[in-house]
Every structure is written in C-alpha cells, then in structure tokens.
Symmetry: C2
Subunit: 450 residues, 2 copies
C-alpha cells in the first residue's frame, strides 16, 4: 500500500497577504449598480452594511492586501492547511495523473468559511459593531461566523435556509454551541420572510434578504456575507497562495488542472485565483474548472446579466451568471451550492474564457466521495464531492490517454455533519436532482432589464 | 484578544518508537490468568484472537518498540498531532496556570483510536487475516478500525453497543462509509448476545463477548480490541512522546499536572505513560490524574481484583479495578467511558500510587466543554470533556492560590458526531448520571473469587 503524502508549511512560510485578482485582469469587471438609481454603487451606499475596511477591500485595485496580525494569529490555529498527494486514490483509479487536494476541513468550523469569517468579524469589532447578522445554507458559513463572533465577543444571528434547518439539527446545534442564535428562514421576524409561507423550504437568496433587512435597521448591527462579494473572495485566496507554495515543495512547478466546486464562488475563487494569476501573467497555463450541481447550474445554464444578490431585491445589482433571483433549486444535499447567482469576479472570468465550468448530478458526486473517503480517510462535504467527482472523471481519462496530468482539487470541508445524506446514498435512497426547466424560464423572466 | 499557540513537530521529529511503561515499573504488573485453569496465560492461549506481533507486544519487557515504516506512513496523514497552548481559555478563566492540550481529533476517525487501529490491522494483514471483528461504545473505535481495514483491504464487522446504535445513527453511517458492517449489540448472531433481550441497551463488555465469540470460530478472522490491553496502550504512547517534544519546544521542561479521561484506559495511558516514565525515573515529578464518570467509576469506586474483560466471561482474567463484569452503567453520553474495568497497566499504576483518579458528573463536563469550544474553537468529545472539566477546576484553584502550574490535558477527540448530547445540554435537558449502589454491590458479588 502506497502512503499518502502531506505537504505542510511552517508558520513562517505562511502567506502574509491576500491576493486580489482584479489587479491582474486585463479587462476590468463591471461594477455593481445601485438597485434604485442603477448607477455604480459608491462606498457610502455600502456603509450601513459593512465596516470601512471591507468596503475598501470590495473596490480595491491593489494586487496584495496585508492580513492583519490578529487575523494571522487566529488563522494559525489551523493554517497553513495541509495539501495531500492522493496516492492511494491514484492507485485505486489506476491513473498516471498526480492528484493533489487542498484540505480546508481542518478549520474549527470544518470548512474554508473561517478564512473570511475571522477577518470580517475582526474589522467589524474594530468599529464597535456589537452584532452581526447573516444567512447560512449548508450551515458551514453560519458555523464559521458564530465561531469568529465568539472569539471577538460579538453577538451573532443566523438565518438558516428552511430545508437545511429542518434536516440538519446537528448543524444548528453546532452554531448554538458557538453561542449564536439561529432562525429558520423564512422567519416571521422580517418583512422579506413574512412574504413567504412559514413552511417554505427557503433559499440562500431569501435568507440573505432577511439578514440584510435586520442589519439595516440598527447602527450597531452589521451584515456579513459568506460568499459572492469581492472582499470575501479576497480573504479566501490564502488557500491558493498556500497551495502554490506546497506544490513547489512537492516539486510541481506546473499544474494542468485546478478543480473546485462553486456555489457562490468563494471556495472556488480562493483556490483558483492565485492559479489564474499564474495563467494571466503567463507563468503557467492550467485549465481552471468550476463544478456546480445540475440542479443549480448558474454558470452552465444561467445568463450573464445584472441581477439581485438576494430574493427580495435589497442588495445591489451584480453582473453575474444568474438563474434569476427568484429561482428555487431542488433540495439537494449540497446546500452550499444552492445559490441562484455566482460571484461577479468568477462570472467575469468565465465570461472572458479564463475559467471553464461544468455541472454534475449528486449521485455521481456521492459515489466519488465514498470512494475517496475509503482510501483517503476523509469524508468530504457534499459540496466538495462535486470537485472530487470531476477529478475522478479526469483521472480515468488520463488512464485511457496515459497523460500524467497534475491535478489540484479543492476539498473545501468535511461531511461529518452531513452523514444523513451519506446514509441515504448507502441505502440507495438518494435521488438525482432534476433542473426544472419551467422554473428556470420563469425565474429568468424576472431578472431586471437594464 | 490573546491568540492560541500551536506547537507542531516536523515529520522528521516524529517519534519512531512506542514506549513500554512495563520496562520502567519498579514493581511488575500481575499477569493475566486463563479463565479455565486460572494459570498465567501464555502466547498460545491468545493465538486464536491475535497475530504473533501483537501477542509479543502484549508481554514484552522491551522499553521501546519500533513503529513499522508502513504504519508511520499512515500516521503521517494526521500526525504529529498538534499541541495547543490554550491562552484564550486561560484568559477567560483568569488563571495564572499555563494550560496545554494535545489534540487527537485531527485523525481520520476523529479520535486517538486510529493510533492503535492502524498497527493492529497492519499486523493482521501481514498474517493473511481477511476479517476483523470488534466492539464499539461511543463509536470512535469502530470508526477507527473500519478506516484502517479499508486502507489495508480487510473486512470489518463491528458490534455497536445498543444504546449507542440507537441514539447515534451518524456514527453508524460513518463506520459504513468506511466500508464496515455494523450490528446492534446484543445481536441475534451470537450466543453471548442471545442471552440478553434484543432491546437491551448493551454494554461494552457484552459487545466484546459477541466480537470475540465470532472471531474464535474462524481461522481467517481475528479480533481487535480498542483499549484495555497492553499492546493497545503501547500504540497510544505516541501521544505522550510527541507531547513531551512539543512541550520542550514551548520551553516547558517541567509539568505539574497531566490530565486525561479514562474509560478502558488507552487514551489516558497514551498521554500519561511517557510522563510516568519521567516521574518513575526522577526526571520530572508531575501529578498524573485520570478522570472518569461518576456513573462508571472503576478507579474510584471499583475493587482491584481479577475479573473478566467482557460480560460473558470469554476473555482472560485481568487484575484491574473493576465494577464487576456484569455491571451496566447508566446511559451517559460519554459512551467511551462506559466500561466496567480499567486497563491492567493503569490499574497497577493507581494501586502503586503513581497515578491518581477522580470522578465527575456529566453536566459539569458539558459546561466545561461548551466554554472550551467557544474560546478554543473545538467541540470536545463527551469523553474528553471529563479532562477539560478537571482542568477547569485546577485552573480556578490556581486563580485562588496564584500558582503558575503547567497543566497538560488530553483532548482525545472531537464531538461533531455527539451534537445531540450538546443540544440536550443547551436545552437544559441533560440529566446527571446516578451510580446505582445496589447494582454495584450486585455486580461486585459476581466477580470470581480466586
């Protein structure tokens, strides 16, 4: 039996800056627009929701943004996260490809989400904010924000998407262990929520509307978003920056394929953008591939248009691949991928042809995840399983072609709080996830025409 | 906010040998006896259950046993495990004590159990064994053995204690994801199981009987035990060996207190025995303290006598602190601590006065665990929470006395599959755990008189 290999970094080798892809984009991304005036939004428009540093990071053209010392101190609890060479998986698949995966499940919340939760809470705490509101889909983001709020002494209120709240009581408990308060969305606490029946399964877009609505009402309360926005993606780039250093240690100065799952886009961008820098600057030429679920395929079936980030239309209009802000995806287990849109920076990169996208059904993803778990000893989050299923396809293609491709996958989190989904899969009760074509047409018809 | 500090080791600094406390015991431990003849058991008596290397390790007087290269390769997936300085906890408790914890929850199964599962499966695989049977209480051990069997290509069958099987479906699923088969104990598959009603809550001792009975019937099937025996404790000593090296890096050449939870004794011994070596050889003089639950208090309320390791009386007679092999503890959440006996080597050390013991109720343990989780970002296993509650007591005593004690605690695993227990605690539904005095008297009356 061939052993895995783990590539670690000393804390002294840890990146000290986040990387901003905007600085290297030869074509700049389109700006967000004010939902009322439809003019580009300025810093003042965002001030009710975010502290000044995060607004500055949202619009900066700086190539590198320094990570504050206190944030680095917290990061060091679990970072640098390990990069593994998946030798046992390679052996099992009989592939000449060399497969690496960057594992973010070692964080306190079990996923990459803490990479942005910690700096977001840190900057809010600096400005006297005492409460943060947010949404959570899979529960990963709510957990991460609750953890970070506990560290810095802020109150935290989380609107958990109804279907996630109903089927994942453990996730709610974990958020509560970290001291936050959890509401099922749609709740009766907001106008946005009350517009839907109480037993509605909810969507990420709707939970965002509820959290934004509450934050806007109170000076000492701000809102925190777990994906989509530029500053969130910025914070996640520490993943790819570490991975590049670890690959160098592994003797790989060239990568053929970078694969990540994409819901709102932050996990994907965190791994991919440092590699995209290498591509745009000509240092390397990897294929960079986003994998989404067939039931919520914004990049592969959506339209690249200005749309709202939330269901109720409270956020700025973002130029992005969207299924329409009213689109309700089916109840797949990868709750973190059930978002109608895609981060504007990822959308722009796809539109420019720098990044590719594909979509997979959930059964194939769970099959790959179980196989991966048995050889690598890690049970992947259902979201991450989308990346692994694509890796499996690529590795088997290399077996046919004989190509020794170097593949880097993002393993965004563990699935220890999603074992109910695995039980369904093992009992052959897991259904594939149809995309409702009619619902898609109807939702796209509601996207504002500018 | 003061940051934590994580002390890591390079793989090159990792221990290459397990440590055998027997070599340094000035008084040797009493031998196990054959259940029929009541003479000391020889290697031949154990051959139906274990491969030769494990039998040799069970009786060796060698001080250090080399870790096989293939086992080290697998260990490196998660080892060396981190040692944290719990600065945020110290700050919260306002204590001058310096608190360190050694965190084993980073392993693929989420606990220390993989440290022995991997070598046990490795040695069995070397001898052509194709199937292993075992018991599991909390589910940690079953998960670890399933993981290791998947790596080395062995079949694995797990008898899960009834109350654990009923209340922790996620744990069962995780074991199944790793490819093993799970039976509720008492099962209808064994004579030992059929002696009890099908809805009996079960005990570790009974699950052991079932797994031993099946293994003894088949040449290619052997049995694997997750605690209690000398070779199991031996494998766990890598925990304490690493901790000593990490403490040296932290500038601590002297420890005042070593604390671990104790069920069967392997987690506790794994951390404690290398420190006990320092104590017995005069290099340091720490207090070494085992913490057990009030509802299953073998060390603090049991008798130091020869008793069976299992309920049905199939195992050798072990000289140990025991509550009686028929004792059925109440259904506390720390399922891994629900064992009627205690490892003979730990029992001998307590009898000789080298190690102390204390017992705590579960509500105090969960209170300490939630506090710990909020400041340190790790949700402890209910078992580990016993160590943390004792640390809390000690740290608060230091606040009163002003003593700057150096405390090292074992955090044997995470509690992400035990969130139901945390939900009960947060909702104030968690009851304390009475010890039935009548049941104890009755069970002790059944211990064989030699």
């Amino acid at each position: 039996m061939e052993g895995q290999h783990k590539y670690v970094l000393d804390e002294s080798e840890m990146p000290t800056h986040w990387y901003n892809i905007v600085a290297d984009m030869p074509v700049p991304p389109p700006p967000p627009l004010h939902p009322g005036t439809r003019e580009p939004v300025g810093p003042d428009d965002l001030a009710p929701l975010f502290p000044p540093e995060l607004i500055a990071q949202e619009v900066t053209g700086e190539r590198y943004v320094e990570i504050p010392g206190q944030v680095l101190d917290v990061y060091k609890q679990w970072r640098p996260s390990p990069l593994f060479r998946a030798r046992r998986l390679e052996e099992r698949l009989g592939t000449p490809a060399r497969i690496y995966y960057k594992y973010e499940g070692v964080s306190p919340a079990g996923s990459h989400k803490t990479n942005t939760a910690v700096p977001q809470v840190y900057y809010n705490a600096q400005h006297g904010v005492t409460r943060l509101t947010t949404e959570t889909g899979a529960g990963q983001w709510g957990t991460a924000l609750a953890y970070a709020c506990a560290l810095f002494g802020l109150d935290c209120e989380v609107w958990q998407v109804g279907t996630s709240f109903d089927t994942k009581p453990q996730r709610r408990t974990l958020i509560e262990v970290f001291g936050a308060q959890v509401h099922r969305s749609p709740s009766r606490l907001t106008e946005s929520g009350r517009a839907f029946p109480e037993d509605h399964p909810g969507t990420l877009g709707l939970a965002i509307s509820e959290a934004v609505e509450v934050a806007a009402q109170d000076e000492a309360t701000k809102y925190s978003l777990g994906s989509v926005l530029n500053h969130v993606l910025l914070h996640q780039t520490i993943i790819g920056e570490e991975a590049l250093r670890q690959l160098a240690k592994a003797g790989e100065d060239r990568v053929d394929l970078v694969v990540g799952c994409a819901g709102g886009g932050s996990n994907f961008a965190g791994l991919a953008f440092p590699f995209l820098r290498e591509k745009l600057t000509g240092a390397q030429d990897p294929t960079i591939l986003a994998v989404e679920p067939t039931s919520c395929p914004s990049l592969t079936r959506g339209e690249y248009r200005y749309d709202f980030g939330d269901t109720a239309g409270l956020t700025p209009l973002l130029k992005m691949y969207t299924l329409g802000h009213g689109f309700v995806p089916s109840k797949i287990h990868a709750g973190g991928l059930r978002y109608h849109g895609m981060a504007p920076l990822v959308s722009h990169a796809v539109d420019q042809g720098w990044i590719q996208a594909t979509a997979l059904h959930q059964r194939e993803c769970f099959e790959a995840a179980v196989e991966f778990g048995r050889v690598e000893g890690v049970v992947p989050a259902p979201e991450s399983s989308h990346a692994l299923a694509q890796v499996r396809r690529e590795a088997l293609a290399c077996r046919e072609s004989g190509e020794e491709k170097v593949i880097v996958a993002g393993l965004s989190g563990h699935g220890l709080l999603e074992l109910g989904a695995y039980a369904d899969f093992l009992a052959d009760h897991l259904e594939d996830d149809p995309l409702s074509e009619d619902a898609l047409v109807a939702a796209l018809a509601e996207v504002p025409v500018l």
